[in-house]
């Protein structure tokens, strides 16, 4: 019962902050409400009992990706001009389309006959670690190589050229 209440609270927060992200004319406000959405998603992982993913979400999304977003916004936007930092066009058509997508997904979710809910034991860190280090070991190594290559590529792209301050 307590978890149910907590779930509704966090979902309401996520939905409100997502709406702020979508409609705010100021891009700084959009970025910070997206940060709130990420923290809320980490709380949802915690409620669903996968603590490892909650910690990883906080570390990578909140600690890494959102800081990167804030840096990029500070680099590229004139923050004082609130009106021009985050323009948006075609709200009506895009609203109709995304509402259609949401209704379709909601229809499928509400009427698909899911199998009996098992509510098994917690997806503990121990189980996840065993699976990662045995069955999914090639994926883990591959993801490490991809991450290294993309970070080196990002630094190479973003570094100022010689003679350009």
């Amino acid at each position: 019962m307590f978890f149910k209440f907590l779930f509704y609270l966090i979902s309401a927060g996520i939905i409100g902050l997502t709406i702020v992200t979508a409609f705010s004319p100021n891009i700084i406000r959009s970025v910070f409400s997206l940060l709130g959405v990420m923290i809320g998603v980490a709380c949802l992982y915690g409620i669903m009992g996968s603590q490892y993913l909650a910690v990883i979400q906080i570390m990578i999304y909140v600690g890494g990706i959102m800081v990167l977003f804030i840096f990029a916004v500070m680099f590229t936007s004139k923050i004082q001009d609130v009106q021009v930092t985050n323009r948006s066009l075609g709200k009506v058509q895009a609203g109709i389309l995304s509402l259609a997508v949401f209704l379709m997904l909601a229809f499928v979710i509400l009427y698909y006959p899911f199998p009996q809910e098992t509510m098994g034991e917690h997806q503990s860190v121990e189980r996840l670690g065993k699976v990662i280090s045995t069955d999914y070991l090639p994926f883990l190594l591959g993801i490490g190589v991809i991450l290294l290559a993309s970070l080196v590529g990002a630094i190479t792209i973003a570094r100022p050229k010689k003679g350009e301050d």
Binding site: Y45, L53, I60, L68, T76, S88, F102
Partner: protein, 102 residues
């Protein structure tokens, strides 16, 4: 009275459609990337919810983990490209990127 899988999936579906809305409407390239992040988060919630409520396995958690890492790599490269473009034409708005137009 406990949380059901449908409620969790409905939250994820809302996040997904909002991400589509942001991608379609925003002009700033960084804001479009924020929409992409929302899509990835919605998919991760789906993975973890299926694991937790339906199958009692951890394979979905592994998939969500790999998704998070790929999102980190993607955001690093994409923001580097945005900064590089900004250095050239002093804007990050997508409808001003027309130097390849004939």
């Amino acid at each position: 009275m406990d949380i059901t899988v449908r409620e969790m999936l409905l939250v994820a579906a809302f996040l997904f459609s909002s991400g589509i809305f942001i991608i379609l409407t925003r002009q700033n390239a960084i804001a479009i990337l924020m929409g992409v992040e929302l899509l990835l988060n919605a998919v991760n919630i789906n993975f973890v919810a299926f694991d937790r409520f339906l199958f009692d396995r951890v394979d979905g958690n592994v998939a969500a983990l790999i998704n998070i890492m790929l999102a980190a790599a993607e955001v690093a490269v994409a923001l580097a490209i945005v900064i590089c473009i900004f250095r050239g034409i002093r804007t990050a708005e997508t409808d001003r990127l027309d130097s390849l137009r004939g």
